[in-house]
């Protein structure tokens, strides 16, 4: 059934239909008694939709889950919610009992819930006028209609397993390219909105390149695609998708959000922030994504690869996922406290990444919104609490380096070197061992003299041992003194042999210090017991608990087994309502900027409802039922007509759908800064496309690390083409992240939603960071070296084709022609300045004459403009 784990596990995967049924009934019950938490404002579009289509017509069915819960939670729970410290009038509206007490089913208008909202007297009005919360007239209508219709409760949508919905029929049958389009178009047609036109082919090819491999298309890739598109547009699109999905850079692009979720870093964080070697895990992710490893295997190997039968080294490396957390070796830190912090981190990261749940809330108390109890939290915690770790950090070469358990990955060369050393060491040791009696005898004679007149340079400890009677020395003391004697006072050839041995030892230590160590998961022999911590404090130990999945989610046969592998398998079980939805939603977010569920980190009752619930469920079921084939989902998305639409804003829709949640146009958003940098290096012809390996150290302002590191770490920039590797390989230091990769996830805790801000500091980075200045210069050099183009106008046109994949408009051409005139005029008068500008960056430039210098500087400044356009930083 599955190729990657033993058949003994297989039968556990059969989910019982009865379990599922029981679970569903349980959910309905839960829905009844939780009446549930919380908030979430409607997205604007759906809020208006609600008021127009439902609020104004009480005959329409009102759904508690869709329409009512969010109104109550947003406006009422602050004082009438689960928090007992804040509750007024002993009334809880987060539970059905409390809500029923203020509802009159026979006379909805007289329900206290309604009358208090309609109340004019500010002392009685709810919510109180000074709370800053208001229930709109539309929302009141919804509440009244809900009571009129019987005030039925419903479970939270995300906790009910998805069932494959029918693909909706649409009027415009010629538009859809695949199932996604049916769902999107059906919603648009409901609102009488036509989708946007397909984007131009040059836009499509750039968009798909940036989205799938994180690099812009080359000039010829644009030309080839446009040509093929003209012949057969549909075939061209499908071929492009297939080509990119099989490109080796696909894995690097898709690894970026996964690294953010996994809080991957090359350093430990906290005091000293020493280096660690988790990069083989990063390479494992890239390879797994490139190989289209099924998502269930991808999950199981990362969460529990160590528990698979006879795990391979690769499967062990995969488990680095849950060892990527920070490590605190601060002086005075209490190891047990730190160890518990690491387990907390694993719980939060795992729950957010696979379940879209904010488990962390339940660390100290029952969750305020979702039906996660504190006990659930510590039962989940128990799965991760048996790692063979201490909470301390091991040092290597004087630096806090990594914490056990870890595996050592010796290179062939290192293995060979170590073997050579072992071979050389063995006979020397044997020789000394054979001579041991004579050595000891000679040493005793030496000792007698030395005690009387100790050698001048003897160290304190050796002197202490020397003064001990021989039979009172322990073994390590005796060895220490013997080593000292042999190295300094023994006769030949003893001394020479010992010195040779010592040299070999030193070499061995040095080689071992260079061995890559990857922290992995490994269980303790003697299982740890897990207890609930009162208020989340590790010293405040409560009841003992055992591994279990959250009680409100369906159990399977697998959850009878109390280990991480069972947990991983449970996550992928057919009855799990969350994993598939959460995962396809994050994929959607990569391509559309926003997930179908905007709160991609939270699918609980406080999360936002999906913009297209049926589409989300369809994708989730489809993903799971096609063996968790990741590339299949990505291909479906990028070949959908929805994705291919132009991103031009539509004035008519600005008020109806300002956030483009209906997707009546293509999305336009700023690229992650890592990809902006890669794109700049790429269009400049500077990018070193090598995959994998140790992190690299590209340009960074001087002294940045020094200020933070008590002088223990110096940033030594890489040489040559290592300066121009893809950003994913840039050394990530948690306390001093790479300063030019703005808006990146902090890699301290799990982050699954990208940040996209727009600040003046980013403008300064794009304008002044040597990375981008050098990229501008190389772009200029390539233009000037191209014999096919000789005029300014041609060069401007060419630069647009290279950097943006399109022809420039007349306005744009004129702006850049004016720019080159301005710049040329300036540098003609300022050759020293021109020389300085083109000297930025390590790559050489081949200019000889002053004229060439002026031209290159002038074009460099103009290419900086191109690289600073909003369009260059965006995918549209």
């Amino acid at each position: 059934m599955k190729k990657f784990h033993s058949s003994s596990r297989v039968n556990r995967r059969d989910a019982s239909a009865i379990t599922a049924l029981l679970f569903f009934l349980g959910l309905v019950f839960l829905g009844m008694c939780f009446a549930v938490g919380c908030s979430v404002c409607f997205p604007v579009a759906s809020g208006q939709e609600v008021s127009e289509r439902i609020g104004s017509n009480p005959a329409n069915p009102i759904s508690f889950d869709k329409h009512v819960r969010s109104i109550l939670s947003e406006n009422c729970y602050f004082c009438h919610g689960p928090d007992p410290n804040h509750r007024e009038a002993d009334l809880r509206l987060d539970q059905s009992v409390g809500t029923r007490s203020v509802i009159d089913l026979d006379d909805p208008q007289s329900s206290a819930l309604i009358t208090r909202i309609l109340e004019d007297d500010p002392d009685l009005q709810m919510p109180p006028p000074n709370s800053g919360r208001t229930i709109t007239p539309e929302q009141r209508k919804i509440l009244i209609a809900w009571i009129q219709q019987g005030a039925q409760y419903e479970p939270h949508w995300a906790f009910v397993p998805p069932v494959r919905p029918d693909i909706p029929t649409v009027k415009n049958t010629s538009w859809p390219r695949n199932a996604i389009d049916h769902f999107i178009l059906a919603t648009l047609e409901d609102q009488a909105i036509a989708p946007a036109n397909r984007a131009q082919p040059n836009v499509i090819v750039r968009r798909m390149h940036l989205d799938l491999i994180g690099l812009p298309p080359t000039r010829s890739e644009v030309t080839d695609f446009c040509q093929r598109f003209a012949e057969n547009a549909d075939a061209a699109i499908d071929e492009l998708a297939d080509r990119l999905l099989n490109n080796e850079h696909y894995g690097e692009r898709m690894a970026l959000p996964w690294l953010d979720a996994a809080r991957y870093s090359d350093s430990n964080g906290f005091q000293q922030d020493g280096d660690r070697h988790q990069w083989p895990w990063r390479d494992w992710v890239i390879d797994a994504l490139n190989a289209n490893m099924p998502f269930d295997q991808f999950t199981i190997e990362q969460l529990a690869g160590d528990l698979l039968p006879a795990p391979s080294n690769q499967q062990l490396i995969a488990t680095g996922f849950n060892r990527n957390h920070m490590l605190n070796g601060e002086g005075g830190a209490i190891p047990e406290e730190q160890r518990n912090n690491y387990v907390f981190d694993r719980v939060d990261t795992t729950a957010t990444t696979w379940l879209g749940l904010t488990m962390a809330c339940a660390q100290c108390h029952d969750h305020k919104y979702d039906p996660i109890t504190q006990k659930d939290y510590y039962r989940f915690f128990a799965y991760f609490n048996n790692v063979d770790e201490t909470g301390s950090v091991n040092r290597r070469a004087g630096r806090l380096h990594c914490a056990k358990p870890f595996i050592e990955l010796k290179t062939d060369q290192q293995k060979k070197q170590l073997q050579t050393i072992a071979e050389k060491t063995k006979p020397l040791r044997a020789e000394l061992a054979e001579l041991d009696q004579s050595i000891t005898a000679a040493m005793r004679l030496w000792e007698a003299d030395a005690v009387e007149a100790p050698p001048e340079d003897i160290k304190r400890d050796e002197l202490r041992i020397l003064r001990l009677p021989a039979d009172e020395r322990n073994k390590s003391e005796a060895d220490k003194l013997k080593n000292y004697y042999l190295l300094n006072f023994a006769k030949e050839p003893w001394k020479t042999i010992k010195i040779a041995l010592q040299k070999l030892e030193k070499r061995k230590t040095k080689i071992l210090a260079g061995v890559t160590t990857v922290m992995v998961m490994r269980e303790r022999q003697q299982p740890r017991t897990t207890n609930l911590f009162e208020r989340g404090e590790y010293e405040n130990v409560g009841d003992e608990v055992n591994c279990a999945v959250p009680g409100f989610l369906p159990k399977t046969e697998m959850t009878e087994i109390k280990d991480r592998l069972a947990l991983a398998e449970w996550l992928m079980a057919e009855t799990n309502p969350l994993t598939a939805r959460v995962t396809v939603n994050r994929y959607w977010q990569i391509f559309f900027g926003t997930g179908l569920v905007k709160t991609s980190e939270d699918f609980g009752v406080q999360g936002e409802r999906p913009s297209h619930p049926a589409l989300l469920d369809w994708l989730a079921v489809d993903f799971r039922s096609h063996d968790w084939d990741v590339k299949r989902v990505h291909r479906m998305i990028v070949t959908s007509e929805t994705y291919l639409q132009t991103a031009r804003f539509r004035n008519a829709l600005q008020d109806i759908d300002p956030e483009n949640r209906l997707l009546a146009r293509g999305p336009r958003f700023r690229l992650p800064s890592m990809i902006i940098r890669d794109a700049a290096l790429s269009v400049a012809g500077l990018l070193n496309q090598q995959l994998h390996g140790k992190p690299v150290y590209p340009y960074q302002p001087d002294g940045l690390w020094k200020e933070f590191s008590l002088d223990k770490f110096a940033y030594v920039p890489s040489d040559g083409t290592d300066l121009h590797r893809r950003s994913i390989y840039t050394f990530w230091r948690r306390t001093v992240p790479p300063p030019n990769l703005f808006d990146s996830a902090n890699r301290q805790t799990c982050i699954v939603k990208p940040s996209r801000t727009n600040t003046p500091l980013q403008a300064l980075t794009m304008l002044n960071d040597p990375t981008f200045v050098e990229a501008g210069r190389k772009l200029a050099e390539n233009l000037l070296a191209n014999n096919q183009i000789t005029t300014d106008r041609q060069r401007v046109g060419e630069s647009f084709l290279i950097a943006l994949g399109r022809k420039s408009t007349e306005t744009e051409t004129n702006a850049l022609l004016a720019a080159i005139q301005d710049s040329r005029t300036f540098y003609t008068q300022a050759i020293p300045a021109a020389k300085k500008l083109i000297a930025i960056g390590d790559s050489a430039s081949n200019v000889q004459t002053d004229e060439q210098t002026i031209e290159l500087a002038a074009w460099t400044s103009v290419m900086q403009i191109v690289l600073n356009t909003d369009e260059f930083m965006n995918r549209q």
């Binding site: 406006n75 200020e707 301290q748 727009n758 300064l764 300085k836 500087a857």
Partner: protein, 492 residues
């Protein structure tokens, strides 16, 4: 709903307002007035005045502190030696700290295995200062000079016992990194009061001896899960005050101006074609960046300051990057209406050799901090600028190491009780608050927990700490977590 969620970037101001009816909170409205997010620079003086006054008035009620200067003393200054006068222990040198006082509380692993916990009385004499008769160590003569301006809280307490968690707790409300820092919250809630400078600025310095330095992490001024535009902008002591501020060598400002104009033409063309308001914002941000290239070097240049003012801050002021210089710069920034200024000074972690190190440390900080308060006062800025001086915790009353070896002993971390002072911005001047036990170990009266202090600082900025929230992972997060009470007694 959070006002700055990525997709909202596509909304116009008008849409923002339109949406307020559907439940956008006060936070969103407050933040709307931040100048640096506007799509276009203000079109008229009146618009500037209107938004400016809106943000100045506080968020939920009028602010007494329009600006905050937080002198964060990293490492944990010894309250026993400096602020919390305990005549009761003067004659108890070497006696064991009674178990009844320690009461089983945990110690750090640096002293948890120490067999003796000998009481170590204050290293120097205390003196009475000001009309307030404030008892302070004679290590702090300049602070003594402003005793009638400061509000000394002697009952601070925290759960944390190690530096990074304790500092993170003070600055973000949580011991685990990842939440927005207090300055980021202020920026988010109140926005900017000036056109050319960041809202939240950070400057760091360390003790000259570099003897017991802690590291400073960027999450001490980070924005956590709120948009990164609210994170503190750290000024550096050497080179550019802000990373990438200078134009590249060979690109003079005049040429840059022309190039930016051409860049704007290109972006304008794109805006016309695509209609994405985010492009408009980008154009505005490039303009602000250009202005900052002028305003930041100006603000970090102190050559125009009169000698008598510079001298107030002490001799160290002439060394860029020193605490004294940073104090002077923070006064200049306050004058320019920078909302939140955070100075972090390393070197208070005196586990060993406290007699020497503490004296050095006081010398580095006492005069400049007092000068800052005086300087603000003489310019009329103190009344609406809050100055805060304090560390992430205090130090133990017992000695660490051999207390008979002057060079060998110090004090360990202590969070159960410690001191902090504030001045200006609406705190009671010449006032002392809270009481600890005879050993300065436990708070016995008027406890001020870190969350209470945070609530109080926000209150002075016109913010209700329970209402400044940001929705993340389904929860409305706030600086004070689910705790904190405003300490009304501290307010003037």
């Amino acid at each position: 709903m959070n006002p700055f969620d990525q997709n909202h970037q596509h909304s116009t101001r008008r849409q923002f307002f339109g949406r307020s009816a559907t439940g956008i909170g006060a936070a969103a409205l407050g933040a709307l007035f931040t100048k640096d997010i506007r799509a276009t620079p203000p079109t008229s003086e009146s618009e500037l005045a209107a938004t400016g006054s809106e943000s100045r008035s506080g968020m939920h009620f009028p602010a007494t502190a329009k600006r905050v200067i937080y002198l964060m003393m990293s490492g944990g200054p010894s309250h026993i030696d400096l602020f919390d006068y305990k005549p009761e222990i003067l004659n108890r040198r070497g006696e064991q700290l009674p178990d009844s006082v320690r009461n089983g509380q945990r110690l750090t692993t640096m002293t948890s295995r120490q067999k003796q916990l000998p009481v170590l009385p204050p290293l120097k004499k205390f003196k009475s200062y000001g009309n307030a008769n404030m008892m302070l160590s004679e290590l702090l003569p300049f602070t003594g000079g402003i005793a009638d301006d400061i509000c000394l809280v002697k009952s601070m307490n925290t759960e944390a016992i190690n530096h990074a968690p304790a500092a993170t707790f003070f600055l973000t409300g949580s011991q685990i990194p990842g939440r927005p820092s207090i300055g980021a919250w202020a920026s988010y809630g109140l926005g900017s009061m000036n056109e050319d400078l960041p809202t939240f600025i950070v400057m760091n310095s360390r003790d000259q001896q570099n003897s017991c330095g802690q590291l400073l992490y960027d999450y001490y001024w980070g924005s956590g899960f709120i948009p990164s535009k609210h994170q503190g902008v750290r000024f550096r002591s050497g080179g550019d005050p802000v990373l990438y501020l200078s134009n590249p060598d060979g690109m003079p400002r005049a040429l840059r101006r022309k190039m930016l104009d051409h860049l704007h033409a290109l972006n304008q063309e794109k805006l016309t074609d695509y209609g994405d308001p985010e492009i408009e914002t980008r154009i505005a941000q490039y303009e602000l960046a250009y202005r900052m290239q002028m305003s930041l070097p100006e603000i970090t240049d102190v050559s125009d300051e009169p000698d008598h003012v510079v001298e107030m801050y002490g001799p160290d002021v002439h060394r860029p990057g020193s605490f004294a210089r940073n104090c002077l710069l923070s006064r200049k920034l306050a004058e320019k209406d920078v909302r939140f200024i955070q100075l972090m000074h390393i070197g208070w972690d005196q586990h060993a050799n406290i007699p020497t190190q503490l004296a050095h440390q006081c010398k580095d900080t006492d005069q400049p901090a007092a000068a800052l308060v005086k300087d603000l006062k003489q310019r009329g800025l103190l009344e609406d600028t809050l100055v805060i001086f304090g560390g992430e915790f205090g130090r133990t009353v017992f000695g660490q190491g051999n207390i008979n070896n002057t060079k060998g002993y110090g004090r360990d971390h202590h969070g159960r009780a410690f001191s902090l002072w504030m001045a200006g911005g609406g705190v009671k001047p010449g006032f002392q608050y809270g009481k600890t036990c005879d050993y300065g170990w436990n708070v016995v009266e008027n406890s001020v927990h870190v969350h209470d202090w945070q609530a109080t600082v926000l209150h002075m900025m016109g913010i209700n700490h329970e209402q400044l929230t940001y929705r993340y992972q389904g929860r409305r997060f706030r600086l004070t977590d689910v705790h904190g009470h405003v300490v009304d007694d501290l307010l003037a």
